[in-house]
């Protein structure tokens, strides 16, 4: 069945819902297509102990503050319930189970295909998020390892791993927090860190790092912001090289701006690393029976491996000829602004700036809706 619509929003996560709410308030008709059966499916499936790393006051979606009694960093469960309420509040009814298999640009719009339907739309908002496809690298010898090797998207809590030696690969926020969660559940975790990484405590001397970023670092020249933050980090964390954590040449603020890499937001892992409770190990080279070989030539026994190796946007896998709009890592180059040469196309929610992804989504959603409203006029 072919349907014609004004605007299609793909994805019913925070980005898609925000755009929906902003379009509704401007009286623009739209449909949200969501491949799962619920809103916020990424948030529903994340590991249990996850919390926002940003402050709720600066992490609200357009038009709806967090309810009274929400802690500074809402939990995963609170985020899910916030998204449910949000969809209800703005009467957003995504079409669930509509997995966009292909999208392509045609004259005057875009054609999208799901399993059952085809949509022709003038406006297209891609809000499929940066967590769409788990990134699962492979290493030689994996088949001989013998224990489970699972991606972090399938990790819920450390309960099944009690007493086990577990290698967590990847020192992003998920990797570090999963290592902490494993430790709390009586496992013996080690964290494999590939290269240099900046570590920033979620709260620096009692102030959330997001607040420092919003009101200080994002308003200073990056070099000066780097110097201030490194000075503060030195005082608070000390030298982390003895624990296997080296610091990149580029400062933490410049890294976000130039390399789009956010620092590791520490929620307690570092304290355990410093006490020798969680070992930091090098890059994985290969696997052997019940053991892992590392880049520094060492070999250690493990019972299981969790790959906290991140996700891909997977946009080019369904969007025909999208490469020109994407950078080398598959992230869109354009945010909250029209894509050159593709009128009506918008990307939202693929950025993780210093000031917080949700904060950014809220701003972008208004802009996207404004552009779509302008084009209609």
């Amino acid at each position: 069945m072919r349907e014609e619509t004004e605007v299609i929003v793909v994805g019913a996560g925070p980005s898609g819902l925000s755009v929906g709410a902003c379009l509704r308030s401007r009286g623009i008709s739209f449909e949200i297509l969501e491949r799962s059966a619920e809103v916020g499916s990424s948030w529903r499936n994340h590991y249990e102990r996850l919390h926002l790393h940003t402050v709720q006051r600066f992490s609200a979606l357009p038009g709806m503050p967090w309810p009274a009694g929400t802690p500074t960093y809402p939990s995963r469960a609170q985020m899910v319930s916030y998204l449910d309420t949000y969809a209800h509040e703005f009467e957003l009814h995504p079409r669930f189970g509509e997995d966009v298999r292909s999208a392509r640009r045609v004259d005057g719009g875009f054609v999208l295909r799901t399993e059952a339907n085809e949509y022709l739309t003038r406006g297209l908002v891609v809000a499929t998020g940066y967590n769409r496809v788990p990134h699962v690298p492979t290493w030689p010898g994996e088949a001989s390892f013998g224990g489970p090797i699972v991606h972090s998207s399938r990790y819920k809590n450390g309960d099944p791993w009690r007493g086990k030696r577990v290698l967590v690969v990847g020192a992003g926020n998920s990797g570090a927090e999963i290592a902490l969660d494993l430790w709390e559940h009586g496992a013996k975790p080690a964290l494999s860190v590939r290269g240099p990484v900046h570590v920033v405590p979620r709260d620096l001397t009692g102030v959330p790092s997001q607040i420092s970023s919003l009101f200080l670092f994002s308003r200073l020249p990056p070099k000066i912001a780097d110097a201030i933050s490194l000075f503060a980090l030195d005082r608070v964390l000390g030298d982390l090289t003895p624990y296997g954590l080296t610091r990149p040449k580029l400062g933490p603020i410049s890294q976000v701006i130039l390399e789009k890499r956010i620092p590791l937001i520490d929620v307690g892992t570092l304290e355990l690393v410093k006490q020798g409770q969680i070992d930091v190990v090098k890059d994985v080279r290969s696997f052997g029976p019940g053991e892992v070989h590392f880049a520094d030539g060492t070999t250690r026994p493990f019972d299981a491996v969790v790959l906290a190796t991140g996700y891909r946007t997977g946009i080019s896998e369904y969007f025909v000829d999208a490469e020109g709009w994407l950078d080398e890592r598959g992230y869109p180059r354009y945010f909250g602004e029209p894509v050159p040469g593709a009128p009506g196309l918008f990307f939202i929610g693929f950025r993780n700036p210093l000031t917080g992804a949700l904060h950014d989504i809220a701003i972008e959603a208004e802009r996207v809706a404004e552009h779509l409203a302008g084009e209609k006029r």
Binding site: G69, P71, R162, E184
Partner: protein, 330 residues
């Protein structure tokens, strides 16, 4: 699992300086020390040298090793020992797992894979930590912390007014591993300035909703206020985790970590001031509990034969779980 298989707080982190500290937990004498620089930063052993039985807590830390004051035998945090006079000897201290978290020093038996107690305080702000010792057994100490009937008599600010106790709702629910008590009633009258500080109004409903867990024995309190007309939650709430650690069969240590929902940087520093007062009040109220517990005439843990009230249902539920989960019996 037996008692020492669970993680127990034994000291506030700032109580442990450069010198080894003796602690007593579950009737075991241990020594805890900071190994300054090196692999692990903390060590914990049975407080007795495997050589000739000296108290290791009388020794000192040198180059990351705890040195026995008697014959100079020294031990690394993992228990690996050296005898200066007999280099071939491989003595070994009875080492415990030890970690510093939430500003407390925790120990458990080496090799036990107990879960670290869950204190979900992400997004809450630390108000303070405090430690008190009650002259009462674990069960009897816990009893005081899982019923609100004592609050009109014992507490200055916490709890409900005596004349309105009959209207206090007390709902008890339990799972295999926890006992939850939900209390709802009118807030006690407070001095006027406290209403402003706590962001509540006279006549507010006070909710004291707590859950007790048994690996180790601890209770997490959720305390907040509702507008009686709209039942809207007031902006602030407290989350307090209290750990009950048997020192001996007759003494129990109480470790309390208090958190607040309202960020300290809000209301132009007024919240930071409210934190100072809240911290002082928690200490004050705990002192009252501890003093009272010391005056009990009958500290037997047996409940049979006692006349119990409608608030005492959690006591029996907790006893069963202390036996099965904490002590690992039956």
């Amino acid at each position: 699992m037996a008692e020492l298989d669970h993680w127990h707080p034994v000291l506030l982190a700032d109580e442990l300086g450069g010198k080894p500290a003796p602690v007593r937990v579950c009737d075991r004498e241990l020594v805890v020390f900071r190994a300054s620089k090196g692999e692990a930063t903390l060590g914990a052993f049975a407080d007795v040298c495997p050589h000739r039985g000296m108290r290791l807590s009388e020794g000192c830390v040198e180059a990351g090793r705890l040195v026995c004051p008697y014959h100079g035998w020294s031990f690394a945090p993992n228990g690996e020992g050296r005898s200066p006079a007999t280099p071939a000897a491989r003595p070994c201290a009875d080492a415990f797992d030890v970690v510093e978290r939430f500003g407390l020093i925790w120990i458990k038996r080496r090799g036990s894979s107990a879960t670290f107690p869950t204190i979900d305080v992400s997004g809450y702000h630390l108000v303070g930590k405090t430690r008190h010792r009650a002259d009462a057994p674990l069960e009897v100490t816990l009893d005081n912390f899982i019923e609100v009937e004592h609050t009109p008599e014992v507490h200055a600010l916490l709890g409900y007014p005596r004349e309105r106790m009959p209207e206090v709702i007390c709902e008890v629910t339990s799972t295999e591993s926890s006992v939850r008590v939900f209390n709802e009633g009118p807030q006690k009258a407070l001095p006027r300035p406290l209403y402003t500080l706590l962001q509540i109004e006279p006549g507010d409903i006070f909710i004291d909703d707590w859950t007790t867990w048994f690996s180790p024995v601890y209770t997490v309190y959720e305390q907040y206020w509702l507008d009686p007309a709209t039942r809207q939650q007031r902006p602030n709430a407290l989350r307090i985790a209290i750990f009950f650690v048997p020192v001996t069969a007759e003494q129990t240590d109480i470790f309390a970590i208090s958190y607040a929902l309202a960020p300290p940087w809000e209301r132009y520093g007024l919240n930071a001031f409210a934190y100072l007062l809240t911290r002082a009040f928690v200490v004050l109220e705990l002192r009252r509990d501890v003093t009272l517990l010391g005056k009990l005439a009958d500290k037997k843990t047996e409940l049979r034969g006692r006349t119990l009230s409608r608030f005492d249902k959690p006591l029996g539920l907790a006893r069963k779980r202390i036996e099965s989960i904490y002590r690992g019996r039956g």
